[in-house]
Structures are given as C-alpha cells and as structure tokens.
Point group: C2
C-alpha cells in the first residue's frame, strides 16, 4: 500500500526543525519522502505508484503519539471504583477483581483500549498486564504496536515464564516486543528483584517498573531497605542496560543521578497521579538535569481515559503549578515527550520522527475545528487546546486505522462495546 499525503503542514519532530508546508510519500510501511510539495514531474520521477492520495487540506501531519505506560486491559474497570487512593484502590477493588479476570476478558478489554488509542492518535502502547500474549494480539489485530513490559512480582509469574515470554514476544516484526520489568518494589522481595536484575543482564534488556509513585511507597521502601526504590534497584545492578521508571513523582537527588548515569527515561503519568492524589512529578527538574521524559496514560481505571491530549496539557500545566512558573515546560518539549521520547524508550526507534526511511506512524491534526483557530501558533495550540476531536487521521505502519471518525474496515466498535459490557457484567453481580 503506497500513500501520498499532500498539501499538508508537516511537523517532523526532528531536532530543530520547524513546521513547514509540504508532502509525505509512503511506500509500503515506510516514509519514502518528506519535504516541500513536489511538482508533477518531480513526483513522477519518484516512480511510486500510489494506491491512495490524500489531500490534507493544510492540516498538520506529525508523528503519532506513543503511550509509554499503560495497562490497556483495565478499560474493563473504568469508573468501576473511583475516588480512592492508590493502595486502597488496588487492594480492595482492583486486585480482587483482577484475580477473577480470564485471559479472554483481557483480550476483549484490550481491544476496547485499542479503539481509544487509534481514535486519539496513539499507535503504540507500552503495556504492562497479565496474559501479555492476549493483550499483544488484541492490539496487533487493531493495527497498534505492542511493547510489553514484564509485570513480575511475588504473586507471579515465575522467572521461567518471564524468560519464555521474553523470547516469544520479541517477534522482530515491529508490532510485538517485550522489555524486562517488574510491578514495583512494594510487590517484590529483594531476592526476587535480584533475580530480575540478573535475568535482565543476561537478556541484555533495559528494565522498567512503577517507581516512587507515592510518598508512602518511598517511605516504606526506606523503612524496609534503608534507601529509596531507585537506589535499591541500582544496588542490585538493575539498570545495566538502562530502562526507566513509571510515575517518578518522588525522586531525590541520588535517584536523579542514577537515572542520568544510565540514560534512563522518566515516564510521567499526570492524569493518574492527579486522580489518585499521588502528587506532581518534578518535570522541570528532570528536564534541567537532562533526563528524558516520556508520557503515559497509565491504566484507564486510574486515569480514566487514554487521551494523550489531556496528558499533554497536564504535563505542562502541573509543572507550572508545581514550580509556580507559567513558563515551565514549554509545548515543544511536551510534544517531544508524547512522540519521540515515548517511541525511543519503547525501543521503537523507527517510529520517532517523520523522516525518510522511518516507519509511517503518522497522525493528521484537524485545524478546522474552533479550538485550533485562529492559527497563531500551531504547536502551542495542539498542547494547550488540542483534543481528540482534532484527530482527523491515525496511520500506523502505513495503514490508516482511523479517519474522519471511522475505524478501519472490519472494526466494529459496537461489537467491542457489547463484549466489554457483557464480560464486566459477570463480575459486577
């Protein structure tokens, strides 16, 4: 499938490159050309036969969003238990329900998440959940890239199972990969953490985990181990191949040094940290220290939606409140987090920017909506007033997954909604 996207404003997200008018040519699943508009002659010389030519009507083409931390299958539990702090919510509501969920439930709930991703411009999810093969299949079938993060903790799975998953799920097909990780310090013994560290080393994998999400988590880790979670993990050699942390709300200077030393990524989840009253991550500080920041929605049961526009506004907005500085964390930085930094920390190095040879993971931002008018500053506008209504097209791997409010052929949202309601009904009785 070769596609020409012409008459566009293009934001490649390449370092230092401003928005410009032009077009993008896609051959198969990769970008064959991105640049100024071509004349008929120039186009002919490219020698590409297009299956589809889309007039972008001067709307914006940019790299798709990458959701760098999520638990997709938790859509089932959206608004099932709101207004509770993290630990109470997990232990009295979520863990008991999750114990009952089947792999098929998780597959269906992940399909529902996939609808939300593609209609909101997200084409890849860094997903941590049980039954990863089911979750991967659900996302892949909808055209979304799955990057699994191991969720091992003292309740399971076994180290052998983790190794099996790592081998099976690293498919090298661009759509399914798996990275070492574990649930969190507070659900793992020190011995288990050491085994995970050893395995990550032997596999050559970076490691990601929930890290310093709440003050309570950090305090209890200090009580148990005499140091913060990050320092504990570092003492076990956990980050030899880098990696990152989800949340990272409460970091001290030593934690920051460790992240810098291993060139690790902070994946911030402002929607979830807000709704669970966990706190505000010190994003300006991370940026000034040169730490890369990516953005995740977290699961739809704690957020409660999978909406990168809301997260982008919150990243900069909460930083402004945290620092009491209206200039904190400018929109260009936020856009980089939601696209380039997300892709790279997930190992999707070919999905980061709109550049020749890269994968065609592209969204079109509809400027012909009142929240985008007048056109004073497009990047600011996307971050400060953008919403899902502005997603005109979502393309992943050269395929259009969503356009003008409609999903790709063969995807029937009503069937997915009905299934999700039917499955959840079993557990609510």
């Amino acid at each position: 499938m070769n596609t020409r996207l012409y008459n566009a404003r293009i934001l490649t997200m390449e370092e230092g490159k401003d928005l410009f008018d032009g077009e993008i040519l896609i051959e198969g699943n990769r970008i064959a050309y991105v640049g100024r508009s071509l004349s008929a002659d120039e186009l002919a010389k490219k020698g590409i036969k297009f299956d589809k030519e889309i007039d972008c009507k001067r709307n914006v083409l940019m790299p798709s969003f990458k959701d760098a931390h999520t638990h997709s299958a938790m859509t089932g539990m959206r608004s099932y238990a709101d207004d509770m702090p993290l630990w109470e919510w997990l232990s009295t509501k979520i863990f008991p329900l999750e114990a009952k969920l089947t792999a098929d439930d998780m597959y269906e709930f992940t399909r529902l998440a996939a609808l939300e991703y593609v209609s909101g411009g997200i084409t890849a999810a860094f997903d941590m959940y049980m039954n990863p093969e089911y979750c991967a299949r659900a996302l892949n079938e909808m055209g979304v890239r799955y990057v699994g993060c191991c969720d091992i903790n003292k309740f399971g799975p076994s180290l052998e199972e983790v190794e099996r998953r790592y081998k099976v799920l690293n498919k090298n097909d661009g759509f399914t990969s798996y990275i070492m990780g574990f649930h969190a310090e507070y659900t793992c013994t020190k011995e288990l953490l050491q085994s995970i560290s050893d395995m990550a080393k032997s596999l050559g994998s970076p490691v990601f985990t929930h890290n310093s999400e709440t003050r309570k988590e950090v305090d209890e880790c200090i009580e148990r181990h005499g140091c913060t979670p990050t320092q504990l993990f570092e003492s076990l050699g956990m980050f030899e191949n880098g990696g990152g942390g989800y949340h990272c709300v409460y970091f001290d200077d030593k934690d920051i040094e460790i992240f810098k030393k291993h060139d690790m990524t902070v994946v911030t989840n402002p929607g979830s940290n807000t709704k669970l009253a966990s706190g505000i991550a010190p994003i300006s500080k991370y940026l000034s220290e040169g730490i890369k920041v990516a953005i995740g929605t977290d699961g739809p049961s704690s957020n409660n939606c999978l909406d990168m526009f809301r997260e982008m506004f919150l990243v900069t907005g909460l930083a402004k409140l945290h620092d009491m500085d209206a200039a904190a964390v400018v929109p260009a930085e936020v856009m980089k987090m939601a696209t380039v930094n997300g892709a790279r920390c997930m190992g999707l190095n070919d999905s980061d920017t709109l550049s020749e040879g890269k994968l065609a993971d592209i969204i079109m931002i509809d400027l012909e909506q009142p929240n985008m008018q007048p056109i004073n500053n497009i990047v600011d506008n996307i971050v400060y007033s953008g919403s899902k209504t502005n997603i005109k097209m979502t393309m992943c791997d050269g395929k259009v997954l969503f356009m003008d409010g409609k999903y790709a052929d063969g995807v029937d949202p009503e069937v997915i909604y009905a299934k999700a309601n039917e499955m959840m009904a079993k557990y609510k009785e």
Copy 2:
C-alpha cells in the same frame, strides 16, 4: 418547533434524582414532559404535534453546560502569547493588543467562541468583555445565551455607559442579560469601587469580579487597602444583592464568611489558573462551608480552550492534589457546578435542570465512544473520561445547535475561521 427525544438515559440534575430511562417532550422552547418512556396512547394524550422525533439510542440527556466565566472574544489571542504569568501576560501582550481591537473584531472572535461552545455542549456564557452589545449579538445569532458581566475599571467605560448597557442589555428575552461587575480590585480606584457598589444597589444587581486570582493580587491589595479584595468590597457594601467571584484561589476565612453571608458563588477556572501558574483554589473547603461553586473556562487566551470537560476533570483532579485526597470533590458535585450552579449564578434559573416547564437547554452525551465504555458509572465516566467527542447534540431554547459533528443550518465554520485569521493577521504584522 416541538421535539421528542426518546429512548434516552436521563440525568435531570434535580436534587437527589438518579439517572433513569425515559424520554423528554419539548413544546416550543420548554420541556413539556420528562419521565419514563410513554406508550403510544400516553403520548397521543399529550396532544403535541412533533416536528422532530429523535431516537437517543440510550445515550444520556442532561442539562447543557453553562460557562460561568469567560472572555469569549479572546479566541483571537489564543496561543498568541503563552507561557507567561498573569500580570506580565496582561500588561505586555494582551492589553496592548486589546487596545487595537475594533468592535467588529470582537464580534467575529465571539462568533468563533460560539462554535466552540456549542460543539462542546455549552449553551450560555457569562461573558466579560468590551463592546458587550457586539459580543451578545455574536452569541445570540449562534443560538447561545449571553449573560454579560460589567467590566468597568479605571480605564473605562464611564458609569453612565454602564447604566446604559445595563438597561439595554437586560432584554428579558432569555438570550441577553447583564449583571453588574467590574474588572478587578487592581484595576479600580477605591472611589470607583464605591460608585460601582452604589450603582449595583440602586439597580438591585448582584456583583461579580475577578477576585483573588493570584497571591500577588491579594498581597498588593492588603498593602494598598489593609485588607483582602473580598473584605474591601464588603466594606463598600458591594454585595448587598449577592453575586460572586471569578477564580477565588486565595481566600482567607473572613473572605469565606463574606461569601457565605451573601450566599455568593465561587466561579472556579482551573484551566486558566493552571496555565498561568496562579494556583489551586480550595474547592473542598468551599463545598464544606456550603459555598456554591460554578465553573468557567476563563478566556481562550489564558486557558486556551473553551472545554467544560477539561475544566470538570481539573476541578476534581486539582482538588485531589490540593488536599492530597483521592476522594476530594466527587463527580456528582462537579456535574452540578458545570450545569445547575452555573445557570443559577448567571440568573438563568430556568436553564438549570431538566424539569417540566424549564427551558430546553439540553445536551446528549454519546456513550458509544470508547472512552465511555464499558458502562460502569455514567456520571463518574463523564467527569473522569468525558471529552468533546462525546457531545452528540447541543440544544438551546428547544433548537438543535449542533448534532453529529454538524452545526445548525446557515452556520459555516470555514467562513468564521477565515474571518478570525484575517482579523488577527492585521495585528500580528
């Protein structure tokens, strides 16, 4: 125009009434029936001839949103100057530009705002801006109710002009009304404030103003007058007929007592307070003190969008962060702020709930979107994951202003966008 909205889930927002299945009959601009679904016989007995019958397909009908503080015409300056604190932003960017704007510019920019209101489910705006007759006309022409708030300050307009506006704009037509107010303590002399208070008393009007938006504003008022803005206004007899305050981020206990004494409304603007790093208003405290809270978007140059869904999430989310309590400010309270409390503080007492005899100011929330599925708790869901994509229909005064992504006949958004860009281009050169 008589309309039947059937096969709906209905949230009347009447006190203590839960969501139920039923239908709404509209005769002219008012609700003639709201209740359980009627049989063909029962319907015939009502004796209403319907021009339109809409199958709501079990989507939600609820009162439309009321934007209880905005500066609609500031759409023109959206993303014209971001990442600046309030005073610097006003004095170096906004005031100089505003000085150049014509009344026709304001009319056009307000038309643009109206598109954003109706596509986002907002049917009434409590608007403070220059040339109120132009702003009122722009909103009214698009079917949106205008409630003006006087913006007098030491730079204008004259007290005579205010009195003229008050008389001309209180049209008693349900679409245009005007309430006394002034810009803020920091742009008024004490003498002017006394005159405004006297005029409000003689007109029998409540009074609204920007109040305690920033720490700086309160500190400087204390320096100038020896007390907070609220206490200064009270000492001048400003609130004899009640009223309220926009923002109210920094209130002390005496300020709260004054608001309680006069049964006044706090209009919170969390998006703007976040983006300008003004701070987080103590909403839980206001609620526990029995103070009514309504929600405003503030102007689109400080927010930057006119999106009640974003504001609703921020009201509860920021309260949770402020209190470090995930149970703070539950969704049902937030929904009341965005609808009932907004309407009432604007004097739109017939637009508050879906009840027989009330005006038909109604929105339909599309549940057939991934962010609303599965259906575990609809009210929670609207507040925690709702977005403008969920506005399926916006009706004001019995007329459909927006449905399935389309504006009413005769409204051409492209023309309005072109005009806004053309007008703004003059000032950016």
